[in-house]
Symmetry: C2
Subunit: 189 residues, 2 copies
């Protein structure tokens, strides 16, 4: 807990992560540049390499924070339909961050927050099965995983084709409700 002093910057590492998030929000994942992150932080292009092994490792740190935020959003949603809506909403509101989260290769250990997000979906699935809201022979794990897969596909395709082409709706919440309803016969509320 000793007070640390850094040469030019207080906490360059976090400044880089924050700057990366800014660029992702402004320009998207495809236009992300490590050199630009350094420029925004006011340091040389070599400076980030004191804190991250390479560009991908910085993006992994960004992704990890993204998973934490996503898990928070999901916590505030109850029920399968709202959970699904929150997932697609997150992707819709943070496209660059969302794409980054699912591009960064989780080497070995998996994100704890990412795991926590899945656990929420798992609990909601088990509850919906217990209450008879959804009827499936599959285990809660397999069912929840299948739902995750569906929500992820919905988010990904929505980011590429934001306009409504198949009557699923335009708004993230509507997309999730319509899709889950079509597959599971889930009630909208």
């Amino acid at each position: 807990m000793a007070e640390r002093k850094t040469y030019h910057h207080g906490t360059l590492r976090q400044a880089l992560v924050d700057g990366a998030k800014e660029i992702l929000a402004e320009r998207g994942h495809d236009q992300f540049s490590l050199n630009e992150v350094a420029r925004r932080a006011g340091v040389s292009t070599a400076a980030p390499y004191r804190h991250f092994r390479n560009r991908d490792e910085l993006l992994s740190a960004v992704a990890e924070e993204g998973y934490v935020t996503l898990a928070e959003k999901l916590e505030n949603a109850s029920g399968l339909a709202r959970l699904g809506g929150a997932y697609v909403r997150f992707a819709h509101d943070n496209p660059g961050l969302f794409v980054t989260m699912f591009r960064s290769r989780p080497e070995g250990a998996e994100s704890a927050a990412g795991r926590a997000a899945f656990e929420m979906l798992l609990r909601a699935t088990a509850a919906a099965q217990d209450s008879g809201e959804i009827a499936t022979h599959a285990t809660p794990e397999i069912t929840a995983r299948s739902l995750w897969v569906t929500l992820h596909g919905l988010a990904v395709l929505h980011l590429q084709q934001p306009h409504d082409r198949y009557g699923l709706g335009e708004e993230p919440e509507q997309l999730a409700t319509t899709t889950l309803s079509a597959l599971l016969g889930l009630k909208s509320d």
Copy 2:
């Protein structure tokens, strides 16, 4: 239909498309380089710009051929489970091409082959509804779209996490069957 002679190359345009496919298969979408395509074709890095406006337009041409191949694969599959298996199998066997297909922004007009692929899923969905194999209140269009979304999510997540983490299986066909069964109660055959 006049015989055309090109300076150094017979049909550079197709050579570039083919070379791009090779690189995508060898190195994947992230490592794709337009300059390397030119190098492989034995032309200068400026030559591709006689045939494509830019890098993205070449990748769009590649994507279009990918949709044609995908539609062919789907044609040889009958029933929802086999269609789904063929979709995930295609992504599994051609990851670089698959990613390219869903990154290239369809400006205005949509791929005819991509539309044809969806039509096949739509017909299989309607048939499954008619036979009572699947029971859902939703229209065939919305149901088919929801299934497409699911298969796409399955393919995307499988490419990132090829190992079996949730008991859905390892093989593309198994993944599709397990997932569709969990959501729809679809019979494996």
